[in-house]
Structures are given as structure tokens and as C-alpha cells.
Symmetry: C2
Subunit: 245 residues, 2 copies
């Protein structure tokens, strides 16, 4: 059996997210597995580096799968791109060693969040960014972002359902920069809980609008109560940018 | 009466083009006129620098209109952006002198055409570029593009209906460059006939694929028969980038 590593780009706009929910469902994983099952002539399951929520995009999601049938990297890539819908692209296929596991081996993830911060909409990016009409104070946002760095229990910054698993995650970096009319927030960490990036960005937006003071963040984190957090940023501004191994 | 100049950005994807065709029709001009008529309390007609075809986009279409009601530039801009659909944005409103006419005073126009030239689709740009899977020979395209420069009768490179008007247009520059996986074609001229840019780009694609020899272009131009031209590039890759006055 060969083990294949896939690098996948997708517009998450019309999907229920990465994770397969049932047969023939509208998920990225489901779409890819259906095509690979056709190619392989056996039921194929792919392992993603992690889930992305409904509506969230990816520049480079990583996944792996094993199949008995022999096919070259190019053959797999061509087959996938021929039969996948055109909002999902496989941009790379590589043979990897047998023990490579896209979820277990993922060391860190980088997410990018795009905010369009002008009074008018951006016709071409309206589905690929969140529109905030009022001017955001980027310096306030930068200061606030410092509170998220390092190891924290992010219970209050997630909507994760399981209460058994650890909610501790480490954020290595959080950069905020202006790019023409956009504000781009890039966050890298060892892992992210369900909705965590969107809740962090939501708080940064509240701070940037002057609705919340950055000094409130440490106590919100300590409270471990998600009712303490405010706004959650829209899914369409979020991209899984990179997975580190 | 004040004369207002508008700078308009739009995703032409779901419209029948710039030009109003009837009442409540699905055109950019129609959408803007309907909103301005509400604001003005009188029927408003706007004059565009020129038409864009169905599906064609604009970074900076220019238009002007006159109205009796007094409103500041900001008021007009805010009103338009509040009531226009979010794939049309007004990015600037300026008072101009009474005789400014967006069509008569337009001296030149620059169009940009984006080709995505990779074997897989671009999930985020699939509606904003034309996908050509086979590698294009950009050097051949550059050489071919020279034949379009200068003054020519472009009858064979247009689908314009009128046979009375002059089909002579002058192309000042035509640049082709690579930008990551994209090939971007920028063409500036004193004016463009219906479908002219798309037919020129279609020919450049044929040349880039080795389907047509560049030396055929002069005789196609001279023939003045549109049956001589081949492929027309898709609307979704085309943007009206700039109008010079």
C-alpha cells in the first residue's frame, strides 16, 4: 500500500466544513473520498491535518490516504482535479513513508484572517473576507493580541463540545498587518479548538472598534466560560494557510 | 445642477453587462440608476465611460450624472453603497465641472485579462480568471501581441453590430506578464469594440498553445471578416482597469 500526502486548496463557501458527516454529504473530505474511492476501487478514507468549520477556506490543507492500487503521484493528482468540483483543487501529491499521519504528525498550524476595512464592500473579495465598515484601530488590536500568545486554556475562546479533552493550546505568534484596505491577522499555534480563531479575531475586532478593552482578555481566558467572550468573526474571512510537520 | 463623477468597482459575474436594457433589468447601469433615482426624487440617467459586456468586471469604471437635489460627495457615496448590491461598489464620488462627460471625455481605456495557467483550478479565482490548463508559451504570445499595436480596422476582432460606425481603433500598449500561476494581459487603447479585447486575448491564447501562428494576425486584420478570427476568451477573466481623461 502506498501512502499519499495531498495538499489541498479550497473555497469553503458552499461546504459544511472539512469533516465528512455521512454519505454523499457536502463536505470537503466527503468530496475527495468519493473521487478517491472511484479511483481505487475500494473504500478510501483520508486523514486531514485537522477540521475546518463550515465556510472556512484553505490555501494548503494537508491530508493523507493509503490505497492498494498502484498509481503515480501525477495520476492521483490528475484524477482528483478532473473529478473534483472546481472550488476544491489538489495542488500537490507526494508519496510519503508508511507511518506519515496528517493529523498526528502536524506540529503547528497557521491561519490567516482577512478583514476588509473600508466603508464600501470589496466586490471581488466579498466572499473571501469579513467586511468591517468602521475604521479599526490596528495598534490597539496589536497590543490586545499579546494576551493570546503562549500557553492558555482556551475554553472561553472555543465552542468545542467535548469537555474531556484538554483545552490548552499554545499560540506561537499572532501578527496583524495592513495590506491596502485589508487587515490581515496571521496566527500560528500548535493547534486550535473549534471556532477558536474566529472567536479570537472577534475579540480583536471589538478591541479595534473600541467596544472592548484589551485588559479584559486575561480574565476572560481565566474564567474558562465561553459566555464571557463576545463576537465571533465570520467564517468567510478565515483560511487555513499552512500546516507544519 | 451638480455634475457628479463616480468611480465604480464591480463583479460583473451575475449581470448582463453595464448598459441598461430596460426597467429593473439586471445591469450595472440599471442598478445604479435605480438607487440614484430614489436619492434624487427624479429620474436619473448615468453616463458610463463605455459598456462592459455581460460577465465582465471593473476595477474603476467611470460614470457621471447630474441631479437637481443638493447632496455632498460623501452623501452620494454613502447612499449608493448602502443600497447597491454588494457586488457593486462606489469607491469615489467627486464634483466635476458641468461639461464633464464620462464617455465623450474618455481618452483611453486599459483592460486587464487574467488567465490562470495551471493544470488545476484556482478555487478563489475561478470566477475572476479564465482557466487554461495547458502551458502557454508566453514568448510566442508577446511576439504575436506586437501585431495588434497601433491603428487598425478591428472589424475582424469584434462582434460589433453597427456597420456604419468606424471600426478603426488604436492600441497604445499590450503587455503580457507572469504573476505566480497567472498570465496577465494588459491592453491600453483609445477605445475598444464589442468583444474586441476578448477576441484579441482568444487569438493570443491560440498562439500560446501553438494552435495558430502569429504571422496570421496581419492578414486576419486586413480581411475585415470576423469569421477569420478563432476563439474568444471568457468574460470572467476581463476587467476594465482604468479610464484615462
Amino acid at each position: 500500500m502506498n501512502n499519499y500526502k495531498l495538499t489541498i486548496q479550497y473555497d469553503g463557501g458552499r461546504y459544511k466544513g472539512w469533516q465528512r458527516l455521512g454519505d454523499g454529504d457536502n463536505t470537503i473530505q466527503g468530496k475527495i473520498e468519493n473521487v478517491l474511492t472511484e479511483l481505487a476501487g475500494e473504500k478510501i478514507e483520508i486523514i486531514g491535518s485537522g477540521r475546518t468549520d463550515a465556510g472556512v477556506h484553505a490555501f494548503a490543507q494537508i491530508a493523507n490516504f493509503k490505497m492498494r492500487k498502484h498509481a503515480t503521484e501525477d495520476e492521483v493528482m490528475q484524477y482528483l482535479n478532473r473529478y473534483l468540483p472546481n472550488d476544491i483543487s489538489v495542488v500537490d501529491v507526494t508519496f510519503v513513508h508508511d507511518r506519515f499521519h496528517a493529523r498526528y504528525n502536524a506540529k503547528d498550524k497557521t491561519y490567516l484572517y482577512k478583514i476588509w476595512n473600508e466603508p464600501y464592500t470589496h466586490p471581488f473579495m466579498r466572499k473571501y473576507s469579513m467586511h468591517v465598515e468602521e475604521k479599526l484601530d490596528i495598534e490597539k488590536m496589536r497590543k490586545a493580541s499579546q494576551h493570546f500568545l503562549g500557553k492558555h486554556d482556551f475554553t472561553s475562546y472555543s465552542n468545542a463540545k467535548s469537555k474531556k479533552k484538554s483545552m490548552v493550546r499554545e499560540i506561537y505568534s499572532l501578527e496583524i498587518k495592513k495590506n491596502a484596505g485589508f487587515i490581515e491577522i496571521k496566527v500560528r499555534g500548535n493547534g486550535f479548538l473549534y471556532n477558536m480563531v474566529r472567536k479570537i479575531v472577534g475579540t480583536l475586532i471589538e478591541v479595534g472598534l473600541g467596544e472592548k478593552d484589551a485588559t479584559a482578555i486575561p480574565s476572560i481566558l481565566e474564567s474558562k466560560e465561553r459566555i464571557q467572550t463576545g463576537r465571533m468573526a465570520d467564517a468567510e474571512g478565515l483560511y487555513l494557510e499552512k500546516v507544519g510537520f
